[in-house]
């Protein structure tokens, strides 16, 4: 038994969880334990915060005391940063979970003559580490030494020695580094000393909207997610869009969720959507997409389920008023806290920002049903590829949590379907198409189920009406020429129906 586990220990790289949302998934468990990790990025990209969060969460939540050596910030700035994460720096220090040291190096008061080494720094680090039994160390950023000392040859040699020494001591170290000129990760080439794990942070400005991105550039001896991921710096530190559900391994519950409309349920083999499935409702403007969404939400709230409604075109008040006109009153559910309506113009944030903030909102509210109305507004925010990638991740996230998702999509004409532009049809389990049927000078609403995975569904186009009592599907009516709607249907119905006077049957 013992030799087996020993072999495993050698094979597998041990990892130190960061406690940062999403980062542990991205790195498949955390940063390499007992090794240095370089976090690099431009000014204001969040390097220091990432490092701080790693240390502070380690000390406060994961039982791994830490040491912070800061070369640039003052105590006040640092305490503020830590407070922003929701932790009390002084308390952690008092509890002997954390040591903070400020390294200041002022070239004006230092004269250099002859050979020297950085044993002073080593001694201080060793002393700090030993005083709390630290497992984690943050060096933010040793590059500042280059500003204070002029002999770069000595410095480079000493930094190399420092990282080797820290590695020998088995401490998990985060080193931050300012992004260098094109091509290099850091100004002073710190990456050449730290070869185990490199994380790069970036702030990208796109259409005047700033998006923070994180990428694991390198992770020696471990697999990691290679792409760039958006992250936000929120109230509780960093939050990176998780990718845990990329494996298509979510459950497929057999439970059904009523669509909130008996007629529509009937079209979906009598019981409605699958729980945890993703529903797309598409149609041109005024076909009733929002109404279908509202029916689902209202019936779920009635059962006491929590629902979240992302409204990108209407304000909550407007949405509630409009839905009241078709007999769906959402107001009481909002009051009860069962329904949360999140209304925002999509252009307010970047695409990635949207993704992360909605992910966060979902996480906090923990709904069983999420409505996104409409997804087409995202198309304006990024390229088709970006939108598709965002939708994929959002759908994955919903499925991973077993949330039933309903999205509406505005198609501009009868032929070109916007959802095909967005290219997400393969993500959708149930696709409901709403359309206007123009016959004989009138427009009638038609509803059909284009697809619904895993259930026999109706293939008819059904007519439906909206009234004070809500949505009502009219019994499918087929004339000799096929589907009939509106007055044509009524005419055919009148023709087909036996005359009351005859009383007999045909």
């Amino acid at each position: 038994m013992a030799p087996v586990s020993k072999r495993r220990a050698i094979k597998r790289l041990e990892k130190a969880p960061t406690g940062i949302k999403g980062l542990d998934e991205l790195t498949r468990g955390g940063l390499p334990r007992g090794r240095p990790t370089l976090v690099c990025g431009g000014p204001g990209s969040g390097k220091t915060l990432l490092g701080l969060e790693f240390i502070v969460r380690g000390a406060a939540e994961l039982g791994e005391p830490g040491v912070i050596f800061t070369f640039e910030e003052t105590g006040e700035e640092l305490a503020k940063n830590v407070a922003a994460l929701g932790f009390d720096l002084d308390k952690l220090v008092a509890e002997k979970k954390l040591v903070v040291e400020f390294i200041s190096i002022d070239r004006s008061e230092i004269e250099e003559t002859g050979e020297y080494n950085l044993d002073g720094l080593f001694v201080r680090l060793a002393y700090a580490i030993d005083s709390v039994g630290a497992k984690r160390v943050l060096l933010d950023t040793p590059e500042a030494l280059f500003g204070g000392l002029s002999n770069t040859a000595i410095l480079r040699g000493e930094l190399r020695r420092l990282f080797r020494w820290l590695k020998e001591r088995g401490t998990t170290v985060v080193i931050t580094g300012e992004q260098g000129a094109a091509g290099s990760l850091t100004r002073q080439g710190l990456e050449e000393f730290v070869s185990d794990c490199v994380i790069s942070l970036d702030v990208r400005l796109d259409h005047h909207v700033a998006t923070r991105m994180l990428r694991v550039v390198k992770y020696r001896g471990s697999s990691h997610a290679p792409d760039e991921y958006p992250f936000i710096i929120g109230e509780h530190g960093l939050s990176i869009m998780p990718i845990s559900s990329l494996g298509l391994d979510h459950d497929a519950p057999a439970e059904r969720v009523s669509s909130g409309n008996a007629g529509l349920d009937e079209m979906l083999s009598g019981e409605g959507y699958f729980r945890g499935s993703t529903v797309l409702v598409s149609g041109s403007s005024g076909t009733g997409k929002t109404s279908i969404a509202a029916h689902l939400v209202a019936s779920a709230c009635k059962r006491g389920e929590r629902c979240m409604y992302f409204a990108f075109e209407e304000s909550p008040a407007q949405l509630m008023r409009n839905m009241r006109s078709i007999g769906v009153d959402l107001g009481p559910y909002v009051k009860k806290g069962l329904l949360r309506i999140v209304a925002a113009r999509p252009s307010l944030f970047g695409l990635e920002m949207h993704l992360v903030s909605s992910y966060r909102a979902i996480e906090e509210f923990d709904p069983s049903i999420v409505v996104i109305d409409p997804i087409t507004d995202f198309v304006a925010l990024g390229s088709a590829y970006e939108v598709r990638s965002m939708m994929t991740r959002l759908v994955d996230h919903l499925k991973g949590r077993g949330i039933t998702g309903l999205m509406t999509s505005l198609s501009n004409s009868h032929t070109a379907r916007a959802e095909e532009d967005v290219g997400i049809s393969s993500l959708i389990d149930t696709w409901i198409v709403l359309q206007m049927i123009e016959v004989a000078g009138e427009r009638n609403r038609g509803i059909s189920v284009l697809k619904s995975r895993g259930m026999p569904h109706s293939r008819q186009i059904r007519e439906f009406t909206m009234g004070k009592q809500g949505m009502r599907l009219v019994q499918a009516y087929r004339g000799p020429q096929g589907f009939l709607s509106g007055s044509a249907r009524e005419a055919q119905q009148a023709l087909d129906e036996p005359l009351p006077a005859s009383g007999g049957r045909r």
Binding site: E111, T113, G114, Y116, N117, D119, G120, V123, Y127
Partner: protein, 113 residues
Amino acid sequence: MATRKRAAARRTADDLLDFWQLRLYVAGKTARSEAALRNLKTVCEEHLQGRYRIEVVDLLVSPQLARGDQILAVPTLVRQLPPPVKKIIGDLSNSERVLVGLDLRPIVLKGAL
């Protein structure tokens, strides 16, 4: 009485400016730290005879002292008195630079007062 007090105060101030309190930080007894101490003693004997005190701090023995003077490199020589604090890092092999670093110009200082 008041005059005497003031005179005494001035005397101590003069004494302070005229007295070099130096602290040499090292990490263990290495060839480099020995050389630094030797070089320092030579410079002091030559320029500050009788007006200096050297204190050697071995950081391997008292690591907690490194924090106060912001020591990173060793050897580091810190001029604690007269103010302002000055630091010279290295083995002090270049006595010219040591003199510059220590601001060793007592005559100019006295003349200025």
